[in-house]
Structures are given as C-alpha cells and as structure tokens.
Amino acid sequence: MTDVKPVLRLEDIVKTFPGVRALDGVSFTVMPGEVHALMGENGAGKSTLMKVLGGIHQPDSGAIYVGNTAVVMAGPLEAKAKGIMFIHQELSLARELSVAENIYLGQLPVKGFGRVDWARLAQQTNAILKKLNVGFDAGTRLGDLSIANQQMVEIARALTVDAKAVIFDEPTASLTDAEKVVLFDVIADLKADGVGIIYISHRMEEIFQITDRITVLRDGQYQGTVDTASSTEESVTQMMIGRTLDLSRNASHHELGDVALEVRGLSCGKLYQDVSFQVRRGEVVGFYGLVGAGRTEIAETLFGLRGPSAGQILLDGAEVRLHSPADAIARGISLVPEDRKGQGLVLGMNCRDNMTLPQIDTLKSGPFVAEGAEIAIFDKYRAQLDIRTPGWRQQVGHLSGGNQQKIVIGKWLSMHPKVLIVDEPTRGIDVGSKSEIHKLLRELAAQGYAVMVISSEMPEVLHVSDRIVAMYSGRIMRTFTSDEVTEDNLIQAISGIKSGQAA
C-alpha cells in the first residue's frame, strides 16, 4: 500500500460552531480501491466532517487533499468537479421530476438554445440503471417509486461521473436484503475500478462484511483507524462509546399488574395486518423490526392518528375508539414520537410551555393559564428526570437531544398516563443520556406504567424489555419472553423466518 497514493486525505480538520467544537483535529485517508468505514455515535462529528468534505462547511483549520493537491472546497459543485460524490442519507431528490432528471440534476446534457438533450439523457441514464439492475427506467416520475428505489436513484447519481471517491451515508436504512446485495455489488465494482469509498453506517454486520478499514470519531475527536479484519464488534463499539454501555438483560423483578392495553386483530390497510398483543401494568414490551415493519404505524393508530381498518383496541378491558390524539390522551395513552423535533416538540417554545402543552386546558386560574402551576410541574419533572437546562424560559430548540427527549417524556408523565408508548427512545442521543433514558423506562415500569418501546436497536430492546414483539412486513412474527429471546432467534423473526423453519 505504501507506494499507492491516497485518493483523498483530510488532515487535522478543526471546525467549531458557536459553543461547540464539532471537529477537533480529525484526520482521515482513503486509498484507491478501499472501502473505509466512518463510525461514531450520533453527534460524534461524522456528518460535520462530510459537510466539510462536501464544501457545505468551511473548516477553521486543516487541509483537504484530493490526490496530492491541497484543495479548498468552496461548494458542492466544487466537490463534484473534483470527483467526490455523495449519496445522502436523507433523500435529496425532486419528486415531480423524472428519474433521469434527478440523476443528472445540476448537470443535464445540453444542446442548442439551452435545450436539454433528452435522447442523450435517456441513453446515459438507462446505461447506469442497467448496471444497477433496477426495475424502472429513465422516464419514470420519481414520486412514483418506492423509497428503496428512490435510494437506488440517489446511488445512481454517484455513477454519472468518473468518481474518485464516493461517500455512502447510511445507504441501507431503507433497503431490503435483495436490494442490499445489489448495492454491495455496486460497491464492489467501484472498488475494482480503484474508487475510494467512504461508508457511514451504524450496522456492524455490514461494516464487517464490506469494509477494509474503520475510522472512529467520538465527540468530534479522532479515535483511531483500524483494519477491519483485525477488529471485533466489541473493540469498535468500545472505541465509539469510550466505555462499555451496560446492556445486560433487565427483566422485571416486580409483580406485573392487570392488562392495561390489549389489541385484537388490528389492521391498517397495507401498513400492518392482524396484530394482537397485550401490555400489562408494570411491564415493558419491546417492538423490534426493520424500518417499514409497521411498528410506528401501530403506535400511531393507538394514539388516534391513523384509523384502523379492522380490529379492536381495549383499555382496561373496555373497547375504545380513538379518533384523534386528544381522544387517546384523554383515555390515558401517550406517545413519545419517533421524530422528536418534527413531532415531539415545538422548538420555538420554551421548556415549560412544551411540557404542559397537552394539559394546558386544565391548568386554569380563572380564565387564564395558571403559570404558577405550570412552573411547579416543570420543576418537578426537571428534578425527577434530571433535565439540564438553565430554566423554564429556555427554548427547547437550544437543548441537547437527550434533554429534549426528557422534556417529551416529562410532558407525558405529568399527565399520569396508563400506557406510555415510546418510539425510538434514544435516537440521536449521546451515550450518557441513553443509559439514563433506559433506566428511566425501567423505573416507570416499576412504578406501574404499561410501557411500549419501539426500537431499531437490538441491544436497546433486549436491555429494556420484559417481552419482545418481533415484527416483519406488517405482521407479528413472534412474541418472546426475556428468557426465550436470543439475538439469533430475534434476527430470524424480524427477517421473516418463522421459528422452527430456520435450518
């Protein structure tokens, strides 16, 4: 390797934002024909590093080399011109345009009078699509494609130029196994052509399947680069979190209460079908499955946001019909949603106002809101949940992810619900707050709440749940008690393999 020149080299990159040192002397090298994983917890600085590389942020100091030349990335166009292609995690596509126009966005082939050269466009696009082995053509309207196919369009973009380096940011988040195989073939082809690949993912099994080296960031700092072949999942996790997270099994030792929530034969169109389960007081039931397995949609139905097409919901044994979140809340169901910033909080409002929002109508003194009572509620849960904020006047938009999540949880605890549904409780939250939130969920169960936890992180589900419901493609495959469950049989269940069928 010594006589081979790196395709891309980042040296001592420092980037600060007001109050945060997002990148603190990070170095990173990609060799031709190498798949190099970039790993780290959320907030470790991966995306900032990629934005620096893409010219969206300018570094405070440090240098970027493409081949042997130091370059200044003035903007996205510059990065592209230098042969560095990004495949974004959040789809960066225009729904109303055709597949071809999306793939060649910003670089449509031109003929006289500024006209788009449609023939050439279609021909080039179809050549790329053929390589990707997908079932749609250049003229298809992008909005008519499934999310997975849209992801393939995003990937196709990287193949339009003679890329020197391609950055894949969580490319498999919405892909099926079959599509993953195609993606990995594409990566192998690029690799064979001598392209350097940066692969960002949280999925250990993929990292160990396809990468050559792994670089780990933590809190904006470079933690080191290791050869994949000589590493283990444990050693990489250790580098990422700095200490070992307590993820021991944690089944309840207390007596479980009555059934608080029961669902019988619940269906919602194509989203999920014939779902039945129970949640007892004092119990944490984990819901595990891939994105699109229907877990979030079940939570949304229980919270009155989606009408079910069939089935019953029973609270304390009595059937209820939930037409709106207001209905659900009035009956004691609460939801900590998946998308904290989009669904959980009004970012422009202060901590207190966010926390008391669902019960604002009941906190009255005369015709007005009883602000004293509001502050009392806020102070109580601030202490109980250890919410770190200068005071209730602080805008929640300025809090860290963990503290924001605690505000959302406090919002519901202050309503004393029967059932607490938590969707992805620790997404985008740092390690320390993560274990605090895990502990909190266990404590809530001990206090007698019926808790539903939806999570895509297996260690988390194993850690907090008394029972685990495994879902695949809109159906419950199996329900495990904490004694029965192993990583293997859980993975089988969420991959659609029925127990006993596995070889």
Binding site: P76, G106, G114, G143, D144
Partner: protein, 333 residues
C-alpha cells in the same frame, strides 16, 4: 400507483374539461338569458376572447415560472403600470423628438428594460437577503405603486401615437397583435419550462431546494433570472395593452396579481412549487376570461364574476385535496 395516475390525469385534464363545461353552459344559458341575438360560441367572439386574455395571460406565464420555482410575485400589477407610463411618456421626451416613428421601438425597449430591471431587483433582494418572496414582492407592490403615483400624481398619463395604435390594432392571419403576443409568449415559456435546462432546474428548485443546492445548481441567480423574466413579461403585457389604449391611470393593474395567481392556480400549478404546466396556465387564463365574458353574455354583472371566480378557486382546492386523499388509514396531522 394507478390511483396516482388517475388523479394526475384528472388534474391535468380538469381545466380543459372546465372550459368545455363553461362553453356549453354559456351557449345554452345564453339562448334563454342573453340580451343579444349573437351566439356565444361565435368565432369572432372567441377571437376577441383570446385578445382580451392577453394582458393577464402574458403575466400569468411569468407567474407560472416564478410559482413553479417556489416563489410568488405580488408586484406585477404595479410593474405593469410603471412600464405603461414609461412607454407612453418616453415617446414625448424631447431627446427622442428627432426620431419620428422610430420612437416606438425605443419606447418599447425602455418599457421592457424598466420592467425587467424592477423584476430583477425583486429577485436580487430575495436572493441576497433571504427574505420570503411573498414579503419582498408585497413591499415591492406598495413601493412600485408609490412610484407610479409619484410620476403624475393622481392624473392619468396619456399619449396617443397613431402609428402605434395601427400596429396594435393590426391583424395578422386573422389574429390581433395582442393575441399573437400571448401565443408567442405561451410558446416561449412552454419551451423554456419543458425543454431547457433552466426550466427543468426551476422545477427541481421548487420541488426540493436543498437537493438542487446539493446538485450544484446556483439557486440565487436562478431565481433572480425568473423574477427578471416575470418583470419583463409584466412590461410586455403593458406594452401590448397600452400601445392600443394610449392612456394609463395610476390605479391601472391593481389586483392584476390576484387575477394572475387565480389563473395559474386554476391551471394546476402548486402554490408550494415544483409542479405546474404552462399549458395548464393557458387553460386557466382562457377559463377566467371565458367566465367573465360568459357571465356578461347572460346578463350577469361584474359582481357575479368576482363571486364565481372566488368560489371556483376554493372549489379547485377542495377537489385537489379530495383527489389526494388516501382514506382513513392516512396519518391525521
């Protein structure tokens, strides 16, 4: 997906279906209600309709670009008035005295240049300050109107050039000058939006601005060009209209922005950008003009026109929403 196709077909065809309905309704209703003996769908009447559609129609083409782009322009009525004043007044300026009838193209160019510059100014402010186009052009609407009044107070500005009137009243292949301008502008903007890179980028920016930025499209200058185009078209509309009338009131062009936006939305352009068609806008313009003429034909007054157009605009929105509904399994937020 089949449902998506059906609703798409319904949407793009809706405006033409509506026009056909209008034609049938007014022809039949006209038999019973009309004061004149003339047929509503008589060729002469339809040609007149095309001509009368021109002032709003030409601006509506520009508005289609700007709205597909994800912006809006409320200042077109005021720009229209300013261009009209420049057109009529510049022909009397002493420095052009020696030009004879050659003053006409000079005046035209001046008016068009002023309109383009005013539009470009809006675009520049939107680009450089990042203020929403709605607010910028709301401000521009007031400011440009103020400039109109500053010019001649509340007095009209008039100048009749008979050569100019002859040109404006001329007919070529049976179509009036104004009609030709409308058709040419429609074709040109259709070509721009459907065939050129600039047009396709306009859709991309309106659809997903971040994606466009990431793809290296320079969004700021792009939007500024579109504002310049709508300014140019507002001025062109004034040039076409006032060459014939020869007199402009300081209140002329008021509420044009509302008519224009109504036509564009009727034609299927999305208010949030990213979707819309020039042909649809043309249909929207014709539909509105047909409605005005038709209601006049059956003896209704202007008040009814306002009422009906307002209600139709709301009805179109409701229809559009119904077509996009996916049933009760949809997330209720």
């Amino acid at each position: 997906m089949a449902q998506g196709m059906r609703s798409k077909a319904l949407k793009s065809g809706a405006i033409w279906g509506f026009i056909v309905l209008e034609l049938i309704f007014f022809s039949v209703a006209g038999e019973f209600l009309s004061l004149s003996d003339k047929e509503f769908m008589d060729a002469e009447n339809m040609l007149l309709l095309l001509k009368q559609s021109a002032p709003i129609g030409i601006i509506a083409m520009g508005m289609t670009i700007v709205m597909v782009n994800g912006n809006i322009d409320l200042s077109v009525g005021a720009t229209f008035a300013i261009a009209a004043i420049v057109l009529l007044d510049s022909m009397t300026w002493p420095i052009f005295a020696g030009l004879g009838d050659w003053v006409i193209p000079v005046a035209w160019l001046l008016a068009l240049a002023v309109g383009t510059a005013l539009g470009a100014l809006n675009g520049l402010i939107v680009w450089k300050t990042g203020i929403d186009a709605f607010i910028v052009t709301l401000g521009a609407m007031l400011a440009y109107r103020g400039i109109v009044f500053m010019f001649n107070g509340e007095q009209p500005t008039s100048h009749l050039n008979w050569t100019l009137v002859d040109i404006a009243e001329a007919k070529f292949l049976g179509l009036a000058t104004a009609s030709w301008f409308l058709l040419i502008v429609t074709f040109a903007v259709w070509f721009l939006m459907a065939k050129t890179v600039h047009g396709r980028n306009a859709y991309a920016i309106g659809d997903n601005r971040e994606a466009a930025v990431n793809a290296g499209i320079r969004v700021g200058p792009h939007m500024m060009i579109n504002f310049a185009i709508i300014g140019f078209l507002a001025a062109l509309s004034a040039v076409v209209f006032y060459s014939e009338s020869g007199s402009v009131n300081p209140n002329d062009g008021m509420l044009y922005e509302l008519w224009v936006i109504t036509a564009v939305v009727l034609g299927g352009t999305k208010i949030i950008g990213g979707a819309g068609s020039v042909i649809g806008t043309f249909g929207g313009v014709i539909a509105i003009q047909l409605l005005r003429k038709g209601l006049g034909h059956i003896g209704a007054d202007t008040s009814t026109v306002n009422l009906v157009i307002g209600l139709i605009l709301v009805a179109v929105l409701i229809l559009d929403r119904q077509l996009n509904m996916r049933g009760k399994e949809e997330l209720k937020v």
